[in-house]
């Protein structure tokens, strides 16, 4: 009980400090010689208060303090300690506290680390960031207080959904938020720079590190979410174009585009308007995403508890930010004169523009697909679903030129270029096509589109690989990131082409036989664990070359909350994953068994790690290498 009070008053104080900070910043802005050191102290204090609040909530969870409503709703005494802690941010209120933590942390780091920028710029960034922070404090205190009391104190909590009790899911929010919420700094500083007419090469170099950091975390955060979905949810997929997934993908697309643009802006004063728009859009998309998944407006596999009051608050907050941004952009932005926009059509600038063009298209597909059902329902009360087929149809064909551009683009010089390496470009093109034709013909229908797809991915793959080995890259981080991307597309395509599955009903002792596989349901063990009853089914799977694998999927019957989960058993090798899952069939004594062979799963994860690694390298690159 004590901790809840501490946590709550820390929040109130934090909000108060926001107002103090805005006041002092405005004053300092008007008579700006040097930084009023009080500002730095208060920024630190604000962060510290949010930490206190956050830690209070963690302690309440660890102590299973059920007088706290959030703890009551989301925890249980039998939960293992690790998940009690992770449960802090696994719910709506706690995750908002995590938002505040990152918001206040990042502005603090911004203040500490920004050296060679004008004072006014730093102050204005702080002011804009505080607007966001104030919004979140209000949101938290008004509608989503993590420190509500309930009386009388219940004996036991409601428990956390067991599928959320997983290590990948425990660290997925913090990492994701560092990216997602971290883009708030980009937003605030872009607005500040626009107002002060500071959008320039110097500003670009400064903000680039923030963009990369945010981007790396966002990429890894999305990866963790997919890994969790694959290992934990038991359907063998890792991306479903579910609204919540789309909502994390959209800022990522905007941020990646921004990253490419900032590279150009660093070199010359072009694309300034566009950079500002992207900077604003990234965080706006994050906020929009928060709105979509927390307001109950969309039906999804991963929505938090819904409450229209919260939805309304975020909606108003989101659009306030949008209108403020529009105002600043239209009134204060002076676009650069046209003569600095001179580059030849065959140049690196052009390839980046093409990247932008495609990325914005992809972004629009995801955005429209996600929010269109809402609009249609408002207009005509008709509900439709927009699912994977939509996204695949619109995105996949465009991937082909996109991959080709990714291969050729980095090889072009700035301003004007003739194509070097013509021989290799053509050779790899030919090899890619032949190879993919052979691959696809052997294993699938849809010969044409798949061949072309695999070719383009292979093309990028070979070119980046060759560049790496002969050290013919201008930029190793970009080389690795693009290579990672080609590997990602390639792995996903091959996974899609070569995956296979058997679904059957089996009783203990029965066997399923097909031309290539034999599945023997050997036995069942039952065990009582701390907070669930476990049923482990032992299978022996024999495939055509007589190798035998033993797999043991599990069913868990939880008591609080009353849920049955299915834990897949996955055998991962470099080449493929063998994935098996069982389900109880209502009222029958057989089980529904699902066995899948999924090639290249590991490479999908590795490729995303490679992509982030490329970004990470770029972050640590010394200035002189440019």
């Amino acid at each position: 009980m004590l901790y809840s009070s501490i946590g709550y008053y820390a929040l109130i104080l934090g909000l108060g400090i926001s107002l103090i900070l805005v006041y002092f910043s405005i004053k300092n802005f008007q008579n700006s010689s040097t930084l009023n050191t009080k500002i730095l102290s208060f920024t630190f204090l604000q962060f510290f208060l949010v930490v206190i609040s956050f830690v209070s909530l963690v302690i309440s969870f660890v102590l299973s303090d059920f007088s706290n409503e959030t703890v009551f709703n989301n925890s249980h005494t039998t939960k293992p300690l690790f998940y009690k802690i992770a449960g802090t941010w696994g719910n709506h209120e706690g995750s908002l506290l995590l938002w505040l933590l990152v918001l206040t942390l990042f502005i603090l780091i911004f203040f500490l680390k920004t050296k060679n920028q004008p004072l006014k710029y730093k102050l204005l960034t702080l002011i804009f960031q505080q607007i966001i922070i104030i919004g979140f404090f209000l949101f938290l205190i008004q509608t989503s207080n993590p420190f509500n009391f309930i009386f009388p104190t219940p004996e036991e909590g409601m428990g956390l959904n067991p599928i959320l009790q997983d290590p990948a899911l425990a660290i997925h929010p913090p990492i994701l938020y560092l990216g997602y919420v971290g883009s708030s700094i980009i937003f605030s500083s872009a607005l500040a720079a626009t107002y002060l007419n500071l959008v320039s090469k110097v500003w670009a170099s400064h903000i680039k590190k923030w963009i990369i950091a945010s981007w790396v975390f966002l990429t890894l955060g999305i990866l963790l979410g997919s890994i969790w979905a694959y290992y934990e949810l038991g359907w063998g997929g890792f991306w479903f174009w579910d609204p919540v997934e789309n909502v994390s993908l959209m800022p990522w697309l905007a941020l990646t585009t921004l990253l490419h643009c900032i590279i150009v802006l660093e070199k010359k004063q072009v694309l300034t308007s566009w950079v500002i728009i992207l900077s604003i859009s990234t965080f706006t998309l994050s906020m929009c995403g928060t709105f979509l998944v927390r307001s109950g407006i969309l039906n999804s596999v991963h929505t938090f508890a819904n409450d229209p009051e919260r939805g309304l608050f975020i909606l108003v907050f989101l659009f306030s930010l949008i209108f403020i941004s529009l105002f600043i952009f239209f009134f204060f932005h002076k676009s650069s004169p046209n003569n600095s926009n001179s580059f030849f059509w065959l140049s690196k600038e052009t390839s980046i523009i093409i990247n932008n063009w495609f990325m914005m298209y992809f972004l629009s597909v995801v955005l429209i697909g996600t929010i269109y059902p809402i609009f249609l329902e408002v207009l005509s009360s008709q509900k439709i679903s927009v699912g994977p087929p939509f996204y695949h149809k619109l995105i996949i064909p465009f991937l082909i030129p996109f991959l080709m551009a990714m291969a050729i683009g980095p090889k072009l010089k700035w301003i004007k270029s003739n194509i070097v390496d013509k021989f290799y470009l053509v050779l790899f093109f030919a090899i890619s096509i032949v190879l993919s034709f052979l691959i696809v013909k052997k294993f699938s229908t849809n010969l044409l589109i798949n061949t072309i797809l695999v070719s383009s991915a292979l093309y990028l793959f070979f070119i980046t690989l060759r560049d790496f080995f002969i050290r013919k890259y201008s930029n190793i981080s970009q080389n690795i990131a693009h290579f990672g991307f080609s590997l990602l597309i390639l792995s996903i395509l091959l996974n899609n082409l070569f995956s296979s599955e058997i679904i059957t009903n089996l009783k203990v002792g029965e066997t399923f036989t097909s031309s290539k596989t034999k599945i023997v349901f050997k036995s069942i063990n039952q065990k009582q664990e701390k907070n669930y009853k476990s049923i482990i089914a032992n299978f022996s799977i024999e495939n055509i070359n007589e190798t035998i694998e033993d797999l043991s999927p599990e069913l868990r019957i939880y008591n609080q909350p009353n849920i049955v989960t299915s834990e897949a058993d996955i055998k991962t090798t470099l080449l493929s994953d063998k994935f098996i899952v069982i389900n109880i069939v209502q009222n029958q004594d057989y089980f529904n068994v699902r066995y899948q062979v999924k090639p290249f799963m590991l490479w999908i994860w590795i490729s995303v790690i490679l992509i982030s690694f490329g970004g990470l390298l770029s972050f640590f690159k010394r200035e002189h290498e440019k």
Partner: protein, 172 residues
């Protein structure tokens, strides 16, 4: 002039989007499928529960009376409460109560009926659950009020006192 046009246009678009989202908040996101009421009954073939004889939908709803088709199973908890009301409806002269036993084991279903009574004139045994889908049902319990081979009303979820009164008044 053009410089003023673009900002106004974009601001307008965002205002419109705001309105859409605002209205969207009012709608629920849970979907209940709308069957077109006054639809003809689906055509299907099924096995009877007790006799294993296959019947055809064209012969099933022949009488001039009203039919209440109830989808139920022994493992369905709300079905137990609803069952009492069904026994009550069995006594209504102009109504025939028939059932679809959904994804059940015969033994458990028989025990259920011997424990709570059998209101059904006939029961279709739908072990795989596909006949229920022919009707557009997707869970248990659900009920359909039928007359002259046309679905008059559909009830998703268990019947309660209020709904049984409604059924009785429709029949009059």
């Amino acid at each position: 002039m053009k410089n003023k046009l673009l900002p106004i246009f974009i601001t307008l678009i965002f205002i419109i989007i705001f309105i859409f989202f605002y209205k969207g908040l009012q709608n629920t996101s849970i979907y209940t499928p709308q069957t077109k009421i006054s639809n003809k009954i689906p055509s299907f073939k099924g096995d009877l529960f007790y006799s294993d004889e296959t019947i055809n939908s064209s012969n099933f709803f022949k009488s001039e009376k009203f039919y209440l088709l109830n989808v139920w199973s022994s493992w369905c908890v709300p079905c137990r409460k609803e069952h009492v009301l069904l026994m009550d409806l069995k006594e209504v002269k102009k109504l025939k109560v028939v059932g679809i036993n959904y994804k059940d084991k015969k033994i458990n279903a028989e025990n259920f009926l011997s424990e709570l009574g059998n209101p059904y004139e006939k029961i279709i045994f739908d072990q795989e659950g596909i006949i229920a889908i022919e009707w557009g049902a997707y869970g248990v319990p659900e009920s359909f009020l039928i007359k002259d081979e046309v679905i008059i009303k559909r009830y998703i979820g268990p019947l309660d006192k209020k709904l049984t009164e409604e059924i009785k008044s429709i029949i009059k």
